[in-house]
């Protein structure tokens, strides 16, 4: 035990003396929370739009000022021809153009009907759809106001409630994702690389000839990262509760217990990678393509899993972070208890045991 503790101490010195790495490891989650929390939104607002007004009459300028007043749009340009419009799209200056036909107002007055054309830059399909919807809504609002909102017979109204996240904040879906990402990064990648680094620089040989059991050496390497990840979890949770206003609706204890389970899974993965590679670059390559990308892509945090083709959906079940992401979402946001997530927990525990067994089996006490 004393031997083990002194090895742990050595690892702490190792990490503590590399200030830059330590700084990044502790700063990474904070940076991610800030970026995801404040900079990235799928909300569309202040989109630059142009007006091609062939009518230049009362109605068209009314609608134009309505659009400009809405927080979704900024009218930045006045167009005079389709050609000009296309050029503006190609320069990336506008996202949407609203085209009024000639005699817009007189059509409205005489026939009670008139057409407005919306042209969207669909190179970003979601933004195009959203902008078209918003612009249509603004125009319909205008129509309602002009007709004095007269009530039509046989009306079906809809009332809507947003569950869990009434303000539609992006933070609710990314905080669990950032937790999974950071833990994967700190535990798996860093453990794998530190072990391999000892191999690459030759110091592993020195340790392997010491009387300490090799498994102890490797476990000692994992301990500081366990602690680091606990600190990271704490800072993520504190930031999300106090800065982003994302509440922890479920039990904190359960959340922490599940996080420790996931940390163990990640550490086991890191050990497995380190025992099957010899160079830092390879370890990094495997961690990045084999772990980090799947964590981002297949855990359901950035991209919806249900939209993926079947092979990817099946593959996503093998990604530990997918299960952890589901667990955190259930406990933290939905406020559910263990009864709702026992299945996910069991799967994660099973994965951990399997990975650990594999890592131990593959660990070589002899150098090539």
């Amino acid at each position: 035990m004393k031997q083990f503790l002194s090895f742990v101490k050595k690892e702490f010195y190792h990490i503590g003396r590399d200030r830059r790495t330590l700084f990044i490891l502790l700063g990474m989650p904070i940076m991610q929370i800030i970026i995801f929390g404040f900079a990235l939104t799928n909300e569309v607002k202040n989109s630059k739009i142009a007006i091609l007004d062939n009518a230049q009459d009362v109605a068209s300028s009314d609608i134009r000022s309505q659009l400009d007043a809405s927080r979704y749009f900024d009218v930045v340009m006045e167009m005079h021809s389709y050609k000009e419009m296309e050029a503006a799209f190609k320069k990336g200056k506008i996202k949407l153009a609203v085209v009024f036909p000639q005699q817009f107002n007189s059509d409205l007055q005489h026939f009670n009907t008139a057409q407005i054309q919306l042209v969207a830059d669909a190179s970003d399909p979601n933004v195009a759809t959203t902008l078209t919807n918003y612009a249509t809504a603004v125009i319909m609002d205008y129509q309602d106001r002009v007709t004095n909102g007269r009530k039509l017979p046989y009306t079906i109204k809809t009332e809507m409630r947003m569950l869990y996240n009434p303000q539609l904040k992006g933070a609710y879906s990314f905080v669990p994702g950032v937790m999974a990402m950071v833990l994967m990064l700190v535990c798996t990648m860093m453990t794998a690389i530190t072990v391999v680094r000892e191999k690459e620089t030759g110091t592993m040989e020195i340790m392997l000839v010491s009387p300490v059991r090799p498994m102890k050496i490797v476990t000692a390497k994992a301990v500081p990262y366990l602690l680091l990840s606990m600190i990271n979890i704490a800072s993520i949770l504190l930031l999300s509760v106090f800065v982003l206003d994302v509440p922890i609706n479920g039990s904190l204890l359960l959340l922490i217990a599940e996080s420790i389970l996931f940390i163990l899974t990640s550490l086991a993965l890191g050990l497995l990678i380190s025992s099957s590679t010899d160079s830092q670059q390879t370890a990094m390559f495997i961690s990045l393509t084999g772990l980090f990308l799947p964590t981002v892509m297949l855990s359901g945090f950035m991209f919806p899993i249900e939209n993926m083709p079947l092979p990817l959906r099946i593959l996503s079940n093998a990604v530990p972070s997918k299960w952890y992401y589901d667990i955190v979402k259930s406990v933290m946001i939905k406020g559910l208890g263990i009864s709702a997530i026992w299945k996910e927990t069991l799967i994660l525990a099973g994965m951990t045991l399997f990975l650990l067994a594999l890592a131990i089996k593959k660990f070589k006490i002899r150098l090539a």
Partner: protein, 372 residues
């Protein structure tokens, strides 16, 4: 000149003798380009719907079959209790609950107004928003049908009626992959450029071979050019591979000219390589270099407009984005590939990235010292 030739020979040999680098260069881009665009599909479809029907009327049945026929929704279950539907939402089996209250049909017909209740799982805000909007437009359609049946509208419509037509330029089928593939190409080129250069130089530091170079009469700029040129070439190769793959796997054919893409990429790669050089001069070992470049790349890529649009970012973030070369390349790639923008259209971005290239490389050369 001869010194440079020898240095280049050395670098290329070193790269091609390292199987790990070959894998990073050719396998990683291939895998990413094959998987990422298929996974990164933000299109909102297949929304799972739970219907709570207290009415069991003709209308409620008609409405539900209209909703399922729209193609956006999958009927998860059809029950009589809200509680049961809520359980489905908790288990993530349903995204949206539509509650049809008792005597809904009667209210619409007799009282002229019936109300439907929707509850949306809003943890994912975008999906919730779009899903609710789709459902509401279907309900409005249904409403119109109902009204048509009851009211004989005169031929001349007394109500004012604005018709809005919309068209989607540059990507009329709203194919999400056309949007993602050009962006992912940028990520690939950037990763190769920044990661590999910084790791390569730091590795020489870590294993001590840089000292051997430092004691030779090689000039500073020889050394740096010797490191830059091979990775610049590799970056262009990865870009070409990516473009070919994009064409055959996703049918993404650039609308604009390939020359525009290559001219911009050539300048952009210089900037990214400069960044890699700079990182390597400020780090001591591969672990640090990797973490630092990973950290910076993460910030650049997240703030590069790849997944979320830059315009909706807050003002301070938009200022930060102005210093992000990745954002310019993502924008340019999408402009050239999807919209067919020409060199004249992207002049401004090209000049800015050129500025980055000069700045970063200059800084890197100044801070690189031929001392241990």
């Amino acid at each position: 000149m001869r010194t440079l030739k020898f240095l280049l020979q050395k670098e290329f040999r070193q790269i091609f003798r390292d199987p790990a680098i070959i894998r990073i260069l050719f396998v990683m881009p291939l895998v990413q380009l094959m998987i990422l665009p298929r996974a990164a599909d933000y299109e909102v479809k297949n929304i799972k719907l739970s219907v709570v029907d207290h009415d069991h009327s003709t209308y409620s049945r008609q409405l539900v079959s209209k909703i399922t026929a729209s193609g956006y929704f999958i009927l998860n279950n059809y029950t009589g209790s809200y509680k049961e539907a809520m359980l489905e939402v908790e288990k993530d089996h349903a995204d949206l609950i539509l509650e049809i209250p008792a005597s809904f049909e009667k209210n619409v017909v007799k009282e002229d107004e019936g109300t439907l209740f929707m509850a949306v799982n809003a943890i994912n805000g975008t999906k919730a928003n779009l899903g609710a909007a789709y459902l509401r437009s279907i309900i409005q359609d249904f409403n119109r049908e109902v009204r048509m049946k009851w009211v004989q509208f005169p031929r001349f419509d007394p109500e004012m009626n604005l018709q809005v037509t919309s068209s989607n330029w540059f990507n009329p089928s709203l194919n999400y992959r056309y949007f993602m593939v050009p962006g992912i190409l940028v990520v690939l080129v950037t990763m190769v450029g920044a990661f590999l250069t910084s790791l390569n130089i730091v590795k020489e530091k870590e294993i001590g071979t840089i000292e051997q170079i430092n004691v030779t009469p090689i000039h500073k700029y020889h050394f740096i050019l010797g490191k830059l040129i091979p990775f610049w070439v590799l970056g262009m190769v990865v870009l070409s591979l990516g473009l070919i793959l994009a064409r055959f796997a996703y049918n993404v054919i650039p609308e604009g000219s390939l020359l525009t893409i290559y001219v911009f990429a050539a300048v952009y790669l210089l900037a990214v390589l400069g960044l890699g050089l700079l990182l390597s001069t400020y780090t001591a070992n591969q672990q640090q270099a990797m973490l630092l470049s990973f950290f910076i790349m993460m910030v650049f890529i997240l703030l590069g407009g790849l997944y979320t649009s830059i315009e909706s970012m807050p003002a301070w973030a938009q200022v930060v984005v102005k210093f992000n070369p990745v954002a310019y390349f993502v924008e340019v790639m999408r402009m050239v590939i999807l919209k067919g923008s020409s060199l004249g259209d992207i002049k401004q971005q090209l000049l800015i990235v050129f500025g980055f290239a000069v700045l970063l490389n200059g800084w890197a050369i100044l801070s690189y010292k031929k001392r241990a």
